[in-house]
């Protein structure tokens, strides 16, 4: 399926692309892999954070006397006695620094005790008095505090406009004007955020669950006024993150504070119920889409306006209108974000921030447009394909959206969807839906080193984080190809800040960023080896790389991954339950460096998209100012039974404008557009357009009842 003759690399690929097995796999299946809270150290104590019980106000008094008398309790840290921190760049980390309560769940104390049970009981015995202020946690379209930010997340402009979008829309022959709603969502990695900290002389050693240990070290150095070279941050195994571990979270700050105060190693493992409020969430979005098109289906205007919330702690703006700057040609466009600061927990990154909710809205609206035109939704997207990014005007380095749509339609048997729908029997309605996907290509400068050992093997070192992506494995593949040696001869060391500094595993940029530096270091090492005569010295030969200035150089191209999702659903008209029967996606994401781990990532993203479509939802309780769903019994992530036949395919792209490996990111695109494909399938099945996620039985049954009233009294 490649259409470009040029290979981006001169040397032949052998290791990259192969379905190499995860190097840490055996440790993971035998239970030997150690995560952040699993480092037994002599005298290790446990910290249990206490959360604010009001939505806005101040801590008037903390009475820790009862807790301190309890067996095993070592100390209770509050804003009155906790170590003073230098002001953090991320205000979410300024824990126990003042009496202010910016939202319910803000951590107001940390109980440190010999055992978990003692710490938990101690936390229950701490009495906190609050000075309570009226709070406002309710997001509305017309909130008086809403404003248009200069920038949304990722440095994206808050608003962009070209042409005369309103005027064009008003006069367009075919229009869609609809509002879509995505509720707050929670990352909920299986490993809750956890950190173990200890001081060894003047050294600080931290095990933390993080997507980027280099950033953790920099942050701790700044907060605690320590030189970076005296801090080691280890994140050897990380039990998922999905953005919520992208930068340090309060657990690591609290653990270091407690270790400093007690002189003990301290583990702070956040209870699951605290995650909703202290590690970030995907902010809710209200999205109005206006599409104006000619009768041929070509878009002439695209207006995407997003309303979202942030906290009073910091401004974070879910950049949901951004994909509308990328996807389809239209001469007239406005993409705009409005944000309202509320007394809510701080939102942050969750897998494909911006793209995931934004593409739900855009791709649902495209389906509505296809409906209004009487056009096949696959063909509508093909008609609106473009070889230049509409917003920037830059040419795409590669796109292949049309190929993804056509290949997916063929594999899915899109043409047979009406037949399958008609064949449904009993109480079940069957439908199929399609949606496109996109995610930007991101890359950051990294350092790495490569070492040739006298025994003929090689070691590659980089402080990459393997959060389940298989970074150890794929970086070894990149190194083996750059060195021209067998994969088995290359060892990788990742997950420790004593290794060469590296950017985080986020923005689907890890492999590109680390791999680029690994490739450079290995290429240089290969040259040095070629120039070296005789046996290697006892300590081998080294080469180092720093891709500053190259990896972050401006590109004249718009660089994005694309994809297409096809979903078949069954809707039970008695229970209102929507089940996904099949989910099939085709991606164009550059060269796939490891077919095995890539497939797992694609499927994982699609599965999270399935959850976004059908089960995942959080509710901000207006009275209490708290998320109502704070555990895994109430916040429903997909389970085995929800995930039926699911297939990820890809089109191999040869794109010379990316990085030496020719790869694009793959960690996030799987979740982008999935919910729209499923929602569009529900529309195909029922004829009802749902515009608010998730598509739970209450919503579906209500709408089915209104459309096909069971009893006359139910008609509104």
């Amino acid at each position: 399926m490649t259409d470009s003759p040029a290979d981006p690399m001169a040397e032949p690929h052998t290791a990259t692309g192969a379905p190499a097995e995860r190097r840490e796999g055996r440790q993971k299946v035998t239970g030997a892999a150690r995560y952040a809270a699993e480092h037994p150290l002599p005298g290790r104590a446990h910290g249990w954070p206490l959360q604010a019980a009001v939505a806005r106000g101040r801590v008037r008094r903390v009475d820790a006397s009862g807790a301190l008398e309890m067996p095993g309790v070592l100390t209770v840290l509050t804003h009155e006695n906790a170590p003073r921190l230098n002001e953090p760049d991320d205000p979410m980390l300024a824990v126990l620094q003042d009496a202010r309560v910016p939202h319910r769940g803000w951590q107001v104390a940390l109980v440190v005790a010999e055992t978990l049970e003692q710490a938990r009981a101690g936390a229950a015995a701490v009495r906190v008095d609050y000075e309570t202020e009226a709070h406002d946690v309710t997001l509305t379209e017309d909130h008086p505090a809403a404003y248009v930010p200069d920038e949304a997340n990722g440095g994206q402009p808050g608003t962009r406009e070209r042409g005369n979008p309103e005027a064009d829309f008003d006069s367009a022959p075919v229009k869609v004007d609809a509002v879509y709603r995505v509720p707050p969502l929670h990352n909920h990695p299986m490993e809750p955020h956890a950190s173990t900290a200890r001081f060894d002389g003047d050294r600080l050693i931290v095990h933390t669950s993080s997507q980027g240990g280099t950033t953790v070290r920099q942050t701790l150095a700044a907060l605690f006024g320590l030189p970076e070279e005296r801090i080691t941050v280890s994140a050897e195994h990380v039990g998922g993150g999905f953005g919520s571990k992208g930068t340090p979270r309060p657990d690591v700050v609290l653990a270091v504070m407690a270790a400093r105060e007690t002189g003990r190693p301290v583990t702070v493992a956040l209870p699951r119920a605290q995650l909703a409020t202290v590690v970030g969430h995907r902010a809710p979005t209200l999205q109005r889409l206006r599409l104006g098109a000619g009768r041929d289906g070509r878009l002439t205007s695209l207006i995407h306006e997003v309303t979202t919330h942030t906290s009073h702690v910091k401004e974070f703006v879910e950049q949901a209108a951004v994909p509308s700057r990328v996807m389809y040609a239209s001469p007239h466009s406005r993409t705009l974000h409005r944000v309202t600061p509320l007394d809510v927990p701080s939102p942050s990154w969750m897998r494909a921030p911006g793209e995931a909710p934004g593409m739900y809205a855009l791709e649902s609206a495209m389906d509505e447009l296809a409906d209004a035109l009487g056009m096949d939704p696959v063909e509508l997207r093909i008609v609106n394909d473009t070889d230049h990014e509409p917003d920037s005007g830059d040419p795409f380095s590669s796109r292949h959206l049309v190929e993804c749509l056509r290949e997916g339609a063929r594999r899915f048997d899109w043409a047979g969807r009406a037949t399958r729908a008609r064949a449904a029997t009993g109480n079940v309605l069957v439908g199929s839906g399609v949606a496109a996907a996109t995610y930007p290509v991101m890359v950051s400068p990294s350092t790495a080193s490569a070492h040739a050992l006298p025994d003929g093997t090689f070691v590659v070192r980089v402080n990459a984080a393997d959060i389940g992506t298989g970074a150890r494995t794929v970086l070894a593949q990149v190194a083996a190809d750059a060195l021209g040696v067998p994969l088995a001869d290359v060892r990788t060391e990742v997950g420790n800040s004593d290794l060469p500094a590296a950017p985080l595993a986020g923005g689907s940029s890890g492999t590109a960023s680390w791999g680029w530096a690994v490739h450079e270091a290995c290429t240089e090492l290969k040259d040095r080896l070629a120039a070296h005569a005789g046996p290697l010295p006892a300590d081998g030969l080294d080469a180092h790389a720093d891709t500053s200035g190259t990896a972050d150089a401006d590109s004249p191209y718009a660089r994005h991954s694309f994809g297409a999702h096809f979903a078949e659903v069954a809707v039970d008209t008695v229970t209102g339950e929507v089940r996904v029967r099949r989910l099939l996606s085709v991606f164009a994401a550059g060269r796939i460096l490891n077919a095995r781990t890539a497939r797992s990532q694609f499927i994982g993203g699609m599965t999270m998209g399935l959850g976004m479509a059908l089960t995942e939802s959080s509710t901000m309780d207006a009275a209490f100012g708290d998320f109502a769903e704070r555990d895994l019994a109430s916040y429903h992530v997909p389970v085995h039974a929800d995930v039926p036949a699911i297939e990820a395919h890809w089109i191999e792209e040869d794109d010379p404008h990316l990085n030496p490996m020719g790869s694009k990111g793959i960690g996030e695109i799987g979740i982008v557009g999935t919910a729209a494909a499923i929602g569009n399938a529900v529309h195909h099945a029922t004829g009802i357009r749902f515009r608010e996620l998730p598509l739970t039985p209450d919503k579906v049954l209500t709408a089915l009842g209104e459309r096909h009233p069971v009893r006359p009294t139910m008609t509104a």
Partner: protein, 198 residues
């Protein structure tokens, strides 16, 4: 794999002796003997301590994972007397004399992993690995339950119970739905389970 050598000191590495010797603390502790991965362990345990925390904190068997501590995610699944349990929900003091098998105890002791562990490797049935030990223990328990004739929600109601239940993909999915995987490895986990029951 066998159990790891460890001194079964009262309260374990994370507990302090002074706290244990206070009157109020002593009154809330009991001696409990567990057989863990084939080795007998006598521990003086805080009555509040869940089996999961005994494994992780006292016995350094951290293969059992803490995902929610509320019986909602399945990451802590181990086998007690051969049946799968959420170890975070069992107070260890109630398990005197019971047989516990964790993911560390599934191999043959000579470095060979259990066939299901191998199938997880073959099928790339995990990513971050945090739910993996629980998925593996749960699947072993589920396979046994089916062999004993326990029906599930998706079993044909007409099928007589008490006789071995064949496990198709729907049955595997249903029976493993108490084990969450946020990385979305579900289809590959089902593949791995199918590999060992065929």
């Amino acid at each position: 794999m066998g159990s790891q050598p460890h001194d079964a000191t009262p309260g374990g590495a994370g507990a302090s002796v002074p706290a244990e010797t206070t009157e109020s603390a002593e009154s809330h502790h009991s001696d409990v003997t567990l057989r863990v991965n084939g080795t007998s362990r006598t521990l003086t345990l805080d009555h509040r301590r869940a089996l999961l925390d005994v494994l992780r904190e006292d016995l350094d068997l951290t293969g059992a994972k803490k995902g929610c501590d509320h019986g909602q995610c399945g990451a802590c699944t181990v086998l007690v007397d051969g049946r799968r349990v959420n170890s975070c929900l069992l107070l260890a003091v109630s398990l005197d004399g019971r047989e516990v098998v964790t993911v560390e105890g599934l191999g043959d002791g000579d470095g060979e992993v259990h066939p299901l562990q191998q199938a997880f490797l073959d099928r790339d049935a995990f990513q971050c690995g945090y739910c993996t030990p629980g998925q593996i223990c749960s699947a072993l328990g589920a396979v046994d339950e089916a062999a004993m004739g326990h029906p599930s929600h998706v079993t044909d109601p007409g099928r007589p119970s008490g006789r071995p239940m064949p496990l198709d993909r729907d049955e595997i999915r249903e029976r493993l739905s108490g084990n969450l995987c946020r990385c979305g490895a579900y289809p590959h986990i089902v593949d791995a389970v199918e590999d060992v029951i065929r």
